[in-house]
Symmetry: C2
Subunit: 264 residues, 2 copies
DNA sequence: CAATTTTGTTCGCATTACGAACTAATGATG
DNA sequence: CATCATTAGTTCGTAATGCGAACAAAATTG
């Protein structure tokens, strides 16, 4: 063995105060969503890059703690893992209050309504009220979309302190998802600046062809942007003008109601 | 030090293949929901029973991996932890399909509709569509209620294989939550048996005074009970008779639609 | 049904993660 | 407003945890 090469461990573990086993265990949990809901020990090992021995230890630990179950061959997650995600949602003050308000929005507009927050370069859905219609993209709580080409993303970016926004611009890689996706940094900056000025953002088929959405910010009493609220529709169902004249007022009112509820 | 007392570690760690650090780390995540959304290192240590040194390692690891953030003093969870819970939800085949069906139920009945699964002696909410009305209990995805005194619990218990149900009866401790809560094992068994015979369960203020709910099972194509669907209301708003005559048909139809969607 | 591949488990040991001890920060008190 | 007391955060030597190579068992194939 060569002399103490401390930082050889692939990518991870540069830090000192770092619990490798926690990270690996969380990887095992996440492997289930990224691949299949039911996996053998070896499949888990493959999809996490762990040795089979390691995968086994983590799986048995998860089973022992009630986070997973097994029939001896296949492993699957149990509802207890929801408590982990729930730990985050319950820390979001707006969450409980937003749900009924969003239901009202859906009832009024007959289109899906979502609430999201910014995490790195992505928006993350934290609440969602779907319509009965079958949607093109299957989105639910916890799923991510690139911030730069979604309506909620534009609104959330516009609410960032200038310094953080600058960091985002340095880091972000514009990837054309449709022919309509914003193509240049200049255009993106212009779109975000526009969202800031007008207090809302409309994105037309930049994420997926046929998908149109409009978003507004949800602010705390100090005016900081905490989340974004949006309504999405299909290109053939609502015109851009209709979204501005009909959807926008409903959304602004809903965001106002959520903000108001936060401030008591 | 005394001679190799292997099983001295409080409660845990009896097993061999057991990754202590994963369990501890998950405890840290969960500490945030059970206590406050923002905590100092020491508070986390207190609420998990870890030493401050250990709490620090886990918190720094979570921050490093994007599951938490800190301003140097306070720690808070980040949206990334949702991906963990999401790993479970995406493994539930019914989840996506249930949401719009549930929205229809809420629109028709103007009462909250929920979907839950059984985990041990509890039911765990996996989807929920609230009404605009303010509810007495703040329930959301991931939260738990005792199975024995909730309508969904009765339906889920009724769907258990006899052997597993017997184990449940041996284990369960009947705790009176209201004066109306079922008081004896005999009465509980009778209620579960009744739910099995009639294919639904109505529970009147056994969980909380004023709270009434009715539930039906969601089955896969083989007839196994996968989940329970319910509608809950307030005692003063809907009579028991109204729930039977109006709510029940809507619920049965909804459960049927979800089951049908699973079977393609 | 032997050979081969794949999956699951054991076990000695190196590394990890442990927590006692230390230091720094905060708050109380005369 | 120094001093002490208490609480919070960090360091570091070391024991035990968790590691994975090696082994065994099961499944697959020729």
């Amino acid at each position: 063995m060569t002399t103490g090469e401390v930082l050889e461990r692939a990518g991870a573990g540069e830090d000192k105060d770092y619990v490798q086993s926690l990270v690996r265990g969380l990887e095992v949990i996440r492997a289930f969503s990224q691949y299949k809901p039911r996996m053998t020990l070896s499949e888990v090992a493959q999809h996490t890059g762990l040795t089979r021995a390691a995968a086994r230890r983590f799986l048995l630990t998860l089973v022992r703690e009630g986070y997973a179950e097994t029939d001896g061959k296949l492993f699957a997650l149990r509802p207890k893992v929801l408590e982990l995600g729930f730990a985050y949602l319950s820390s979001l003050p707006m969450w409980e209050v937003a749900q009924p308000v969003m239901r009202d929005v859906v009832n009024t507009l007959q289109e899906s309504c979502s609430l999201s927050v910014l995490d790195g370069d992505d928006i993350v859905y934290v609440a969602r009220v779907p319509t009965a219609r079958v949607m093109t993209i299957g989105l639910s709580i916890g799923s991510r979309l690139p911030a730069f080409c979604s309506s909620m993303g534009r609104v959330l970016l516009a609410g960032l302190p200038p310094a953080e926004l600058a960091v985002f611009y340095d880091r972000v890689r514009i990837e054309k998802r449709t022919p309509r996706t914003v193509a240049t940094m200049v255009a993106l900056k212009e779109a975000v600046e526009n969202a800031r000025r007008q207090g809302w953002a409309l994105v037309d088929q930049e994420l997926e062809l046929g998908l149109r959405s409009i978003a507004v910010p949800v602010r705390n009493r100090r005016g900081e942007v905490l989340a974004a609220l949006n309504v999405s529709t299909h290109e053939g169902r609502s015109s851009i003008e209709a979204m501005r004249s009909q959807f926008l007022p409903v959304l602004l009112d809903a965001a106002q109601r959520i903000s108001a509820a936060l401030s008591q």
